[in-house]
């Protein structure tokens, strides 16, 4: 296997770097997936399916805290990107790990939420609202976790002054993860408050 990438990787007839194009394309497809899921949720809700009054039982405080955590982590990844742009790899490395830390806090809060709800009997199969709650937040959490793993890998490259352009790309992805949460939070936590 040859050890260099093809010339095609480095060309850009449009002026947009290929990595960035790829990430936007990926996000577009993810938007359709989450959009579809959220739309199904709304269809059930507005057709008065049973169980949707349970939205009052989700902990708005936990949800709000998580929103704050994710937004902050979006800030730190932007700072990481800015640092990598000016070549400050150690600062970039640190900010990436703050972002990962934010993701970790998010996951811990979610774990706490899930366990308290399950102990109260609100499992995945309790009613359609809870089925959606776990499916949507679960899918989202998987994306958070995936993002954390990729960020970790990128951070080690960055520390070696390698592939710095990828900080921006994972940043774009992380903003998307954040935005999905911004949509999930009101429909799962604020509605029926």
């Amino acid at each position: 296997m040859s050890t260099h990438g093809p010339i095609a990787t480095h060309r850009t007839a449009t002026g947009i770097p290929t990595g960035r194009l790829a990430v936007w394309w990926l996000l577009a497809s993810e938007i359709f997936i989450f959009g579809g899921l959220i739309m199904c949720f709304l269809l059930f809700k507005f057709n008065n399916a049973p169980g949707f009054e349970d939205a009052s039982m989700t902990s708005t405080a936990a949800g709000a805290f998580n929103t704050f955590v994710l937004l902050t982590s979006s800030l730190t990844i932007v700072l990481a990107h800015a640092a990598s742009e000016r070549g400050d790899t150690s600062a970039s490395f640190r900010y990436i790990w703050f972002t990962i830390g934010g993701g970790l806090v998010f996951m811990l809060v979610k774990t706490y939420e899930y366990s308290t709800k399950i102990l109260l009997g609100h499992t995945l199969t309790d009613n359609i609202f809870w089925s959606f709650y776990y499916t949507a937040t679960g899918l989202h959490a998987l994306h958070v976790f995936g993002g954390m793993v990729i960020m970790a890998i990128i951070s080690f490259d960055v520390r070696k002054n390698y592939n710095l352009q990828r900080v921006e790309l994972i940043g774009i992805y992380w903003h998307f993860v954040d935005i999905i949460w911004i949509f999930l939070f009101p429909i799962l936590y604020i509605a029926n408050f």
């Binding site: 260099h4 990438g5 997936i33 269809l43 352009q165």
Partner: protein
């Protein structure tokens, strides 16, 4: 052109020497788009054999109900359902998409736009590996307890959502998992296609100089990406219903079966254009080359392709006219469905106009391309019957639907596949196929194809419904005339299947013993014909520059009847 990587260091090392690659590295783990294209092609052809075998088995049951099918065994009602379900699923997801989009897209995109590979070769390899896994999962589903899934390729709940209804507990979930993996594979593959086409074009190749097949494949990839998202959400929900006891689609738990139908068909309708557009592109390439004529109305064809793609998102409920949707909604979908025939008609008219004033040579690729136009015309006009909601009240879930979609899908998948293979075989393998055998195969496929599906319109008119294993049980459908039609159709299929061995022989024999092919045996203008057959690793020794569009044939004042894209303009033209 901006080379973004100037200021930021990255992973590429200096162009070192290539070490000798083992068989494993060169063919199995390759990141070369040409090898990956072949992997998709051969996997797709293998799956086509399975899909065809299933069709053989169920058509034998239909013609001779209750008889033991040679080389298969008895087809009881459960097996019958499994056969028709997986025939449809395989043909769409594991034949049409991998062959038309992944195999020929992988091969032709870098070659036609003048670059050395896809932009993300390792992602390309990963896409194939996930695709292969999906095929293996599907095949596995046939061997688990309970057998393969039998709820039709549309997989409507509650049947598909609960093992107590479908009686194929693991078969249903493995089927769903296989489809999900295939979708992921193509979403990943699409990343490569779009970014490569947009960014890696040779200098001088503007958007309107791209061969139309590349545009068509890219539009198909966009349509796929935009339509499949909600279905993925639905598939997760269905999987949870099957395995975890949720009730997204089960009315007993507050769920709604109709929701799945909407999610499925919101994808399902654009999907047919996802597979149609690449074949339209392939046919365009062939008819321009073999009529020595510029494509008529390149821009028009491009805009109608976009128009068709956009409209395809608002027609989906014509699959649900009698499904229990609000009848008033049906009227909207009648309008949009009938209207979508218009851009397609425009495209077909443009293709026919391309033939006007041409110098037509009836090579095998051209025969396939022309037969596509004839067959797809039948498929298209019979769609009008079904888009008429009131008539669909009679034809829903009848053989008229089957005949219609085979007159669209078969030309798209099978004719398109043979057109592309016979056309690009010299480039891919460096040898020519035997033209006589090719022509025998063509007629031996095209005529029986019509013998198989044309009569099915008639049984559809008789009210014969779908997914039934034995019509002799229904007195109104058991008449000897109708059974005679069924037998005639099955015999046509048998003849068609036998002729495929001609192609298999020709394909493999020519690959090793065919006459060596020139670089440009068809005297075509696009960039893939400017490099050796087969192309070396890296494709182009020097990056080409493009000076004109891809269809400059029979240009007045020119000696040659074709003017390749990469030839610099002469001052004395």
């Amino acid at each position: 052109m901006v080379q973004q990587v100037e200021t930021i260091s990255h992973e590429t090392e200096a162009h070192g020497t290539h070490h000798e690659m083992s068989f494993w590295e060169k063919y199995i783990l390759s990141v070369d788009h040409k090898i990956i294209g072949l992997q998709y092609l051969f996997t797709g052809l293998f799956m086509a054999a399975i899909g065809g075998y299933f069709a053989y088995a169920f058509r034998m049951q239909l013609a001779f109900p209750g008889a033991e099918v040679p080389l298969f065994g008895y087809v009881d009602p459960a097996k019958f359902n499994m056969l028709v379900t997986n025939h449809g699923t395989i043909m769409i997801f594991w034949v049409a998409m991998p062959v038309l989009i992944a195999a020929f897209g992988n091969w032709m995109i870098p070659l036609m736009i003048g670059c050395d590979d896809m932009v993300f070769p390792r992602l390309n390899r990963l896409s194939y590996q996930i695709f292969l896994a999906s095929a293996l999962v599907l095949i596995l589903s046939f061997f688990v307890e309970g057998g393969g899934f039998g709820g039709a390729w549309t997989s409507y709940p509650p049947l598909s959502a609960a093992a107590e209804y479908n009686l194929t507990n693991w078969g249903a979930s493995l089927w769903l998992l296989a489809v999900a993996l295939e979708i992921v594979a193509f979403l990943l593959g699409g990343i490569n296609f779009i970014t490569t086409t947009m960014n890696a074009r040779a200098p001088g190749m503007g958007m309107m100089d791209i061969p139309i097949v590349i545009w068509m494949i890219d539009i198909a990839v966009i349509l796929f990406m935009a339509s499949v998202g909600p279905l993925i959400a639905g598939a997760v929900m269905l999987f949870f219903d099957q395995r975890l006891g949720t009730s997204f689609f089960l009315p007993s738990g507050g769920g709604d079966p109709l929701l799945w139908e909407h999610l499925f068909w919101f994808f399902g309708h654009p999907e047919v254009y996802v597979v149609l557009l690449p074949t339209m592109g392939i046919v365009a390439e062939i008819i321009t080359v073999f009529s020595r004529k510029k494509l008529f109305g390149y821009r028009t064809i491009l805009y109608t392709a976009f128009g068709t793609g956009g409209l395809s998102f608002i027609v989906w409920a014509h699959h649900q006219f009698v499904a229990g949707i609000d009848p008033r909604m049906a009227n909207v979908f009648v309008v949009t469905t009938i209207l979508i025939s218009i851009p397609i008609a425009e495209m077909l008219f443009s293709y026919i106009a391309t033939l006007y004033g041409g110098s037509i040579e009836f090579t095998t690729p051209m025969l396939w391309a022309l037969s596509f136009l004839v067959s797809f015309l039948i498929g298209g006009v019979t769609g009008i019957y079904l888009g008429a909601s009131a008539l669909d009240v009679y034809f829903h879930d009848s053989y008229f639907v089957i005949a219609h979609f085979h007159y669209t899908f078969f030309p798209i998948t099978i004719i398109g596949m043979f057109a592309a293979m016979t056309f690009w075989f010299p480039k891919m393998f460096g040898r020519m196929m035997d033209e006589t055998l090719n022509k025998i195969h063509f007629w031996g496929t095209f005529i029986p194809f019509n013998g198989l599906f044309l009569p099915l319109f008639l049984v559809g008119m008789a009210g014969q419904h779908r997914r039934i294993s034995d019509f002799t049980q229904y007195p109104d459908l058991a008449s000897p005339d109708l059974q005679g039609i069924r037998i005639f159709a099955t015999v046509s299929l048998l003849i068609m299947l036998l002729f495929q061995f001609v192609f298999i022989y020709n394909f493999f024999n020519s690959m090793f013993k065919g006459k060596k092919a020139l670089m440009n045996p068809w005297r075509a203008t696009t960039l893939e014909w400017t490099i050796p057959s087969p192309p070396p690793h890296g494709n182009f020794a020097e990056m080409p520059t493009v000076y004109r569009g891809p269809y400059e044939y029979s240009v007045p004042g020119h000696d040659e009847d074709y003017w390749p894209q990469h030839i610099p303009p002469k001052s004395n033209v």
